[in-house]
Amino acid sequence: MTALVRNISTRSLRVWQRNRDVYFVTWKTNLVPPLLEPILYLLAFGAGVGALVHEVPYRGEKIGYIAFIAPGLLATQVMFQSFFENTYNTFVRMYYQRTFDAIITTPLTLEDVMAGELLWGASKGTIGCAVMMLAISFFGVLHYPHALVILPFSFLAGLFFAGLALCFTGIVPQIDSFNFPTFLFVMPMFLFSGTFFPLEVLPRWAQLLALALPLTHVVNVMREACLGRLPPDILLDLLYLSAATLPVCLLGIHLMKKRLVK
């Protein structure tokens, strides 16, 4: 593990730059999901479900349904952007485009390349989150300036999901295999992390289970920030995510190295 860390240098930023450049070349297609997704969701859930459910109980108070799900959408946006970047897109660069084969002939190590991939995955989550915040702001459910905390926080959350993604990319036999982590981890988190309904309505055991899901903690922090407050208990969420991110990222790099260096 120490050799692995020693092989990571600032040169990994070159890989980040490469991915950023590609992102800007194809910016139109990249901006569609974070711009349209929240609008579609807020219309469907806000106008549809919201017509039935005006308010939901949350931490002993009642808040509007749109205000409730908006941070859930931001959190899942970060998860989707970062997770899919370092699963499908990294796999395409690794296997179909052979991009990494070319880069590792330069002074970059494979660890640099993977670190750059992770930094980019986290950045993509942050960009997606920022664009989505812009769209959601028009619904008047984000309380500034507190909500701005979401931006740096989304980078941390993004890095966690990027690292998790890289772990899977390191072991899947082919690109279709990503269906397993997607439907076993990502989709359940999307639905059961307090995104669309408050965890309070679940039985106690299910609440505890939900607390183990990383996305629950991302949603917690983002919801508090959206509501314009930053209570001290979000430090526990931050602690959980910070503690989990580093080992997950290192494991991801390790598994990729094991896969590629023969």
Partner: protein, 303 residues
């Protein structure tokens, strides 16, 4: 002349399989050195160890005097690698493929921009600088990959099967560029399974098979010493000719319907056959690398 690459008892194992099995070679500054061999001979594995990607199992491998295990970044900063598969960035234009690649070497834009222009002109791609990669033919892609490998003005250029899959015109263009680089004094390491390619480009070469080096030397000398000056090829020969060949002590080989006689005196062997035996066709030609190659590695199909 200084030594650029030095390998001693170099081995690479994948489990039970010895992909490279205790090879020794050294490549001198300014020469074009070839690795010739059938598929699976260990050429690409050797190349991967040289550019510090595949870890060495045992033995010693030094590039520019540095151990590949200790100084990979320093070594890679001074080499250019053109890999077998085209791994250009499909989302970037021709020009940006080079610009982005220069950045990996820590080159600032003030340096990559003129270098990109220079290399695209050298490779005849400047007119196509704004095109997408998908619009390029196989030959143009190959030239761009070679241009990319030259971004850092490497002291050693590694070309892994640079013309595989190209049409004859494209191959000749690539060869022409490689010869120009060679004249400019670049050290070049080339792997190929094309005999004509090795013969035209290489100052020295090794023939590898099953992870081992079978012979080493300048192509012309190797052919002369191991095969002879000329080859007499006989189509549709009678069995009695084989007896005659054996009695005369000729060096020869047969395949399904042909007899090959390796000799320094082609004309007299030809005379001995043409007048006296009933054959379909009999020709004398210069011995080439292909004769040596098949002699060493056999005629059976691989993989």
């Amino acid at each position: 002349m200084s030594v650029v690459i030095e390998a001693r008892a170099l081995s690479k194992r994948y489990g039970e399989l010895a992909a490279v099995d205790g090879i020794d070679f050294s490549i001198r500054s300014g020469e074009c050195f070839g690795f010739l061999g059938p598929n699976g001979a260990g050429k690409t594995t050797t190349v991967k160890m040289i550019h510090c990607f595949a870890p060495v199992t045992t033995g010693d491998l030094r590039v520019f005097g540095m151990d590949v295990r200790e100084k990979p970044r320093e070594i890679k900063a001074r080499i250019g690698v053109c890999q077998q598969e085209d791994n250009l960035d499909p989302d970037f234009s021709v020009k940006n493929n080079l610009m982005v690649f220069g950045r990996y070497f820590g080159m600032p834009v003030a340096q990559t921009a003129p270098r990109t222009k220079e290399l695209l002109e050298f490779m005849g791609l400047w007119e196509r600088r704004d095109d997408g990669i998908r619009e390029l033919s196989g030959g143009l892609k190959r030239r761009l990959v070679i241009a990319r490998a030259l971004m850092n003005d490497p002291d050693l250029l590694i070309l892994d099967e640079p013309t595989t899959g190209l049409d004859p015109q494209s191959r000749h263009q690539v060869w022409d560029r490689i010869r120009t680089l060679r004249r400019q004094g670049k050290t070049i390491l080339l792997t190929t399974h094309y005999m004509d390619e090795a013969q035209t480009l290489c100052d020295r070469l090794v023939i590898m098979d099953h992870g081992k080096i079978l012979v080493e030397g300048p192509p012309v000398e190797l052919v002369r010493s191991r095969v002879g000056k000329e080859v007499v090829e006989v189509w549709g020969y009678p069995p009695s000719l084989l007896d005659h060949a054996r009695q005369s002590g000729w060096k020869f080989e047969t395949d399904t319907d042909r007899l090959f006689v390796y000799t320094d005196v082609g004309e007299s062997v030809f005379q001995a056959i043409a007048g006296k035996y009933q054959v379909e066709r009999c020709t004398v030609r210069m011995a080439g690398l292909e004769d040596l190659f098949l002699k060493l590695t056999g005629r059976e199909l691989r993989e």
